[in-house]
């Protein structure tokens, strides 16, 4: 058999696939598994006018908003959980800088499941009584043809590009997950089935033979994957579940830095624009700190 296409790319090569004005989904949920190394590279490349279709976002989206790269956001939550509100999102919305389309959380999740099922829309009753349909023209009324009443119709997520961060994969783009997964990984798997434009950053590239020994952990088969990129600690300062924990100190510092434009600019200069590569970023964060975030045996 001829060798399958090698899909291993550099971070810069993979990020250059995203053009200005793209409709993207960044994986992860809340304070876990966001593809941060990829986000930083998008920032360095100057990619702009993005529509981000998300569900429960944190500073992955907040930093893009703060740098002025997001035109439209479809979402349910942008915040930092224990670290507080998302500072740039808050500021940008208060000054009317971005277009919002917001949904309840299960509806925002279901938009991806709907795309994965190949359906254009689904119906729900959970937002009835709220002001969401009043401010979001994408939530439309529809009557059940079987006679059970009025529902809200919501469109499928339909991202052009999905970028997720995962534990491991091979150079052909097969992606391995741990046997014990949580909702953030499950949501990423659902999102991976919504497009054939899929970029996966992984903690580590493993041999193809390893995948064949663990086919039951290969939950994204390579035909789905456009590019795979190796970026250890690629979700920092968020956790990559079962691999390392959140960098609490860093997230608290981000929340603080985002509070005004000048300190946010200093944050960007220090951790993004003044950084030449992901390795350079890891050096700035420091080996000792990263080592302490590791969770040895976390998936056992």
């Amino acid at each position: 058999m001829n060798e399958p296409t090698v899909k291993l790319r550099s971070l810069a090569e993979a990020a250059s696939l995203i053009k200005d004005g793209s409709r993207i989904h960044l994986g992860g949920m809340a304070v876990h598994n966001h593809p941060m190394a990829f986000v930083y590279e998008l920032l360095r490349q100057g990619t702009k006018d993005l529509t981000v279709v998300s569900h429960v976002s944190a500073s992955d989206v907040d930093i893009l908003i703060g740098a002025g790269r997001v035109k439209r956001l479809e979402f349910s939550y942008v915040g930092l959980e224990e670290f507080g509100t998302a500072p740039c999102f808050r500021r940008a919305v208060q000054s009317g800088e971005i277009e919002l389309s917001e949904y309840s959380e299960p509806v925002a999740f279901e938009r991806f499941a709907c795309s994965a099922r190949g359906m254009p829309f689904f119906t729900t009753r959970e937002m009835i009584g709220t002001d969401l349909p009043r401010v979001n023209p994408d939530i439309k009324e529809i009557t059940d043809p079987f006679g059970s009443g009025v529902y809200h119709a919501v469109s499928a997520a339909e991202p052009e590009w999905v970028i997720i961060h995962a534990p491991a994969g091979d150079k052909y783009g097969n992606i391995l997950f741990f046997p014990h997964r949580q909702l953030p990984e499950d949501l990423d798997l659902t999102a991976s089935r919504t497009t054939r434009n899929l970029i996966v950053t992984v903690e580590q590239i493993v041999a193809h033979e390893r995948v064949k020994q663990l086919p039951y952990l290969n939950l994204i088969p390579r035909f789905r994957t456009t590019a795979i990129v190796e970026v250890p600690y690629g979700a920092h300062p968020f956790s990559c579940l079962h691999v390392y924990d959140q960098d609490r100190e860093h997230l608290a510092a981000y929340a603080q830095a985002g509070r005004d434009a000048a300190s946010f600019r200093r944050y960007l200069d220090e951790y993004v624009y003044g950084v030449t590569s992901h390795d350079d970023y890891l050096d700035i964060i420091g080996a000792a700190r990263l080592a302490r975030l590791r969770q040895v045996g976390g998936a056992l």
């Binding site: 959980e81 998302a86 959970e126 009584g129 709220t130």
Partner: protein
């Protein structure tokens, strides 16, 4: 056991526990900011455990929607994040890790949820989206998250907020959780046959919603709190103070023992108790 007075957090946990019945499904989500995490996450977890120990052994709790019936006495650290190692290491009966967890709610199988908000109005409507005009808000909040479903799909909602004047408004700026909307009949007109807020709990008092007017009424003040103090930090302008206001029952000695010795022996959930 020694006669140590209950802390306000223990009073709140016991008050919640008495709202919970056997054979129910309870859903607790996550929240933003340390104060809200204490009020909306840690107190209800203790309350649900208390109810299970005291009178509701067949109830079933979904913490963060996915950790089912965790034994919080074995929790080494405080729960701060919805997923990850902290919660993932809790001993519990089952996990629900897939996004199909939403379908349990869509099927109306959840009996009780817990919610908080930056604003709650006299009809129990809640706002986690924006203060001021939606398009150009004075303060943009985190977003609706799961609040819409708590008020439209669940059997009833317990709303927990810090008792500050600005949190109590006549009308929320944005409805992300539909309480009794514009008053009697509002929910029914929209086809919301069940659900809505049953209790508004703060660190000073309990409010309930009048079955006719659908407006919040001061039901009890916590031990040691004067009605005047509650009035001073409540922003409502309707007449919410009845002729006589009860005192929120303190936890019984048995409830206190369960909280302190069985459920939260390390104090990981409730802040260090006043001794």
């Amino acid at each position: 056991m020694s006669r140590i007075e209950a802390t306000v957090y223990e009073v709140m946990a016991a008050a919640i526990a008495r709202e919970l019945r056997d054979n129910e499904l309870w859903f607790l989500g996550m929240s933003t900011g340390p104060q809200t995490i204490l009020m909306l996450t840690r107190i209800p977890i203790v309350a649900m455990n208390l109810a299970q120990h005291a009178h509701a052994p067949n109830s079933w709790m979904l913490v963060a929607g996915w950790v089912m019936n965790p034994d919080v006495s074995k929790v080494p650290t405080r729960m701060e994040s919805e997923f990850g190692t902290t919660l993932g290491e809790w001993p519990c009966e089952a996990y629900n890790n897939s996004l199909t967890m939403s379908y349990i709610a869509a099927r109306h199988e959840i009996d009780v949820g817990f919610g908080s908000a930056a604003q709650v109005d006299k009809y129990g409507n809640c706002n986690t989206v924006a203060i001021g005009d939606y398009a150009r808000p004075r303060v943009r909040l985190v977003g609706p998250i799961n609040q819409p479903g708590h008020f439209s799909l669940f059997g009833r909602e317990i709303v927990i907020i810090p008792h500050e004047k600005r949190n109590f408004v006549d009308r929320v700026d944005f409805v992300s959780g539909a309480g009794y909307l514009d008053g009697p009949g509002s929910r029914e007109r929209l086809g919301l046959q069940r659900g809505g807020p049953c209790m508004l709990l703060t660190d000073k008092a309990v409010f309930r919603f009048d079955s006719e007017s659908r407006m919040a009424v001061l039901a009890s003040v916590h031990p040691g709190i004067e009605v005047e103090e509650v009035i001073a930090c409540t922003g409502y302008t309707h007449d919410y103070v009845p002729q006589s206001v009860a005192v929120t029952p303190s936890p019984t000695p048995e409830e206190l023992r369960l909280i302190r010795e069985v459920i939260d022996p390390s104090g990981a959930m409730l802040p260090v108790r006043a001794v």
